[in-house]
Symmetry: C2
Subunit: 404 residues, 2 copies
């Protein structure tokens, strides 16, 4: 049979490694003929925009470059399937393409929205007695998927955050005047990535001195008191804050641009203004922006190896006849670190979120516990030996014309 694979949702450093894992495992399996890559996620299946990956990935060097290339080499999408009982036209279109291409298994690399697609498609195929298996390969820097111990892509993002936070700490402590530095970190409604900056405490860094995540209630009054206390102890106070913490309605949109439009300034910028207003000291806010999800040059080898392995495990799972499953990690030990890869039911994961457990927070709610640090540390270990070209990492890319 043939198989198809697609990538979906926001970029990470590990999505292409999972693609490499699916491809490598397929090559090993004599029951698999063609491996099709779908351009722009499920949209490529709908529009029959598929490319033969054996023509694209010709050498083991190609696969190694693919592993070290961030983002999605096949493009991505944010497409949600409608309820099939209301409208099954797109389902029939997808089934048609897959049947015509003799595709017996479809692998979807994505976050919790994409797992919704895995669940819906597999249920449709079961109902219509179509033997096409659908397997989800998780990815997200937010680490907010249920069941799995962690998600591919998170370890590399966490490593970037820790490495960069440490450098910002060095940068912030050069002058003799007091200062406050606020670093805004992604993660949507969950505080995993922000919390992971606490791994620096294992290196005897007292900073970040304060860590605010959406799982703890945020109060401005309490925040300013926290900052005041830390300023009494440290010349350069460093604060990590999740983009998703809850602040009073409307405060983020207070700034008006030159065109008279209100703009949504980030939470970091908002807290910066709050601290400056209250203490009048040197304050700056830093947004780690997309760099935290695409900085493959400092990816975690543990993450990239696991991302490749979970892609391969997905192929084995489908070839055992399973469908509607998402591959997950189950952790056996923190130290020495050990995980197993296994399938879980997509319905347990799709459209749901997972938040930091309360024991990962300190009782004060403004920092992270040692238990959490033990959880995070194994995920950021190891560096990939990068192939460099002209002083920058070599990337594997597809010509823009092929992607159109």
């Amino acid at each position: 049979m043939n198989i198809a694979v697609a990538q979906s949702g926001g970029p990470t450093c590990a999505i292409n490694a999972s693609l490499a894992g699916v491809f490598r495992e397929a090559l090993k399996n004599p029951d698999i003929d063609a491996v099709f890559g779908s351009i722009n996620g499920i949209e490529g299946i709908i529009r029959d925009h598929l490319i033969d990956l054996k023509n694209l990935l010709r050498t083991s060097e190609d696969l190694n470059l693919l592993r070290q290339t961030p983002s999605t080499v096949l493009g991505s999408c944010r497409f949600k399937l409608p309820d099939r009982r209301e409208d099954d036209r797109i389902y029939r279109q997808i089934a048609e393409t897959l049947k015509r291409r003799k595709i017996g298994a479809f692998f979807y690399i994505g976050g919790n929205d994409s797992m919704d697609t895995v669940q819906k498609l597999s249920a449709y195929f079961r109902e219509t007695k179509t033997d096409i298996r659908v397997i989800g390969i998780p990815k997200t820097i937010d680490n907010d998927l249920r069941i799995t111990d962690h998600t591919p892509g998170f370890g590399s993002a966490a490593k970037y955050v820790a490495v960069t936070m440490q450098e910002i700490i060095r940068d912030s402590s050069v002058y003799s005047i007091p200062s406050v530095t606020i670093v805004e970190i992604m993660g949507r409604h969950a505080g995993w990535l922000t919390a992971s900056s606490a791994v620096l405490h294992a290196l005897s860094e007292p900073a970040p001195h304060l860590i605010y995540v959406p799982e703890a209630h945020f109060s401005e009054e309490r925040f300013l008191r926290d900052v005041e206390q830390q300023m009494a102890k440290h010349k350069a106070v460093i604060i990590a804050v999740s983009e998703g913490i809850e602040v009073p309605e409307g405060v983020q949109s207070g700034v008006v641009d030159n065109f008279g439009h209100k703009y949504l300034s980030g939470i970091g910028r908002y807290l910066e203004l709050l601290v400056r207003e209250k203490f009048g000291c040197k304050v700056r806010s830093i947004e780690l922006n997309v760099m935290q999800r695409c900085s493959s040059h400092i990816c975690s080898k543990t993450d990239i190896d696991e991302a490749e392995e979970i892609g391969a495990a997905g192929v084995r799972c489908a070839m055992h006849g399973e469908t509607g499953r998402v591959m997950v990690f189950r952790r056996i030990h923190d130290a020495p670190y050990a995980v197993v890869t296994e399938p879980a039911d997509a319905s347990l994961i799709a459209n749901r979120e997972k938040f930091l457990p309360s024991e990962f927070l300190t009782p004060s709610g403004n920092n992270i516990s040692d238990k959490a640090i033990a959880y995070f540390l194994p995920l950021i270990q190891g560096e990939v030996d990068l192939v460099m070209r002209h002083g920058v990492p070599a990337h594997f890319t597809i010509q823009e014309s092929v992607l159109k």
Copy 2:
């Protein structure tokens, strides 16, 4: 004799490597006894806040960690000496400290403001017939010092910019809808660092599609026309822009820091709003912020090696009896790359700036020439083999209490 060394100005990845270079060379020279580190630049000399570096840097492992630690391990300052004919009290205070500590040579690692200190102090010592030599070791990510081919710290910043820009290009091209991404880069009034992002063209990246530097006249009208042309050709348009380009009065943040300086920030955000207003497409702006000056984890080995060597060369220069000199690089070849290190008169460098030559710009003024790429490429080559601890680079630090 004893010697003293201090670090000044904004952080870079290479300032500590230059400190390591001064220290290593001093160890080799039997005429040098103690090596004092001055805390917070020249302020440490004024306040007699010096530490014996032989007590601090005990092993070659310490020196290796120092080389890979960004920012200034001895702290920094932004202190400008007054004109000695108007007020020589601080000069006398400095001379007193240095004499009492039997310091016969002072090394100042810094940018063009610090070279003003080198010039003034050395002139004072000459005038007062005091045999204390003063030598400047350049550093700045802005690369805007005259005489020298380039400045230590610039190569690492340029490597970070190129590596990160390439990752942003990957990140920006995942969705099927058209988008514009604007990346704001440091450099004060000079476009060196922004221009260096053009090295990606040597890797067959068409992006950045547009590059705006302060050396070319900026017009909003022209900018919007450029963007429109690029949008017709590319789905994801990538733009690099210098923080220092001239835009109509008042459009930048207008925020004034504690020294009354206007903040040079917000140009990326300004252009983002301009593009959104005009084309209504997906636009985002990204500030590389302090990460571009402190990301030692992706430093250029060429830069770090040169920074160490120029520190060592400064010591040799002083021990030959020279003073009032700044060490500079003279480039012999682009490929194979070769430079020599030599002294230049501080008065030629202090308080002056160096801008991109016109042949580094394309005739259209919105991109960078191949000649410039040949200049930039050698500076970003090579990676330092980092010592890692718990998954992040190990840093050499001094206890906060010692720095107070």
